[in-house]
Symmetry: C2
Subunit: 137 residues, 2 copies
Amino acid sequence: MNTYRWEEISIGMEEHFTVVITEKMLDGFKEITGDINPLHQSREFAMEKGYADRVGYGMLTASFLSTLAGVYLPGERSLIHSVETKFLKPVYVGDELTISGKVSEMDERFRILKLKVTITNQKSEKVCKGTMQIGIL
Amino acid sequence: MNTYRWEEISIGMEEHFTVVITEKMLDGFKEITGDINPLHQSREFAMEKGYADRVGYGMLTASFLSTLAGVYLPGERSLIHSVETKFLKPVYVGDELTISGKVSEMDERFRILKLKVTITNQKSEKVCKGTMQIGIL
């Protein structure tokens, strides 16, 4: 885990990591949230709606932003203030996602940094983009 | 699960549900995301930082917006396009959260509705607020 202090962070700093989306993740997310929507549960339902397979929860993809901030940038001292995410393409089981963040602004007064975040799949397609505002504890 | 069609939705429509945050949820979220940040794992670390106990992941709280859209409003035909969330107060194990959404806009051209969302705890404190843009399949 990274342990960046405010003084060690600068605009343009980047971190990224990769995860492979598994059935277990989708099932675990369903168990935690109670989101039993068939788009995420049933291949048949998803295919009827024009998808290749059951679709990963957008908010599961977004959940990896927790890890991006809490483990990578800034890591241990992270406190997430706000998150904005836009979902651009479906995510499927087996997709390898790269979660990336880059420091785009630093507000010295409140010690809040802004990360520009992107999540891409193994085909380099952007599946999610957004921003996070993160305080430093 | 609700199955609202576009024609059945109108501005001002509201849905809500409640969940109690458990240790199991925090552990499950950690397992899925790999976010091992000590603020969410260690009571001692969290107390050193001025919190009453280990703090629930903001993105876990936000994950219930998946359920709000996918099960309640609009339910089955939901496809989340974007989510904005602001975290206002810490969430602890044992907190009872009420997740509420209200239709604030409807874009007829793209069949996208906008939900204004709020998450409050058992003391009626707002812990999270935001907006979601949701398509109807």
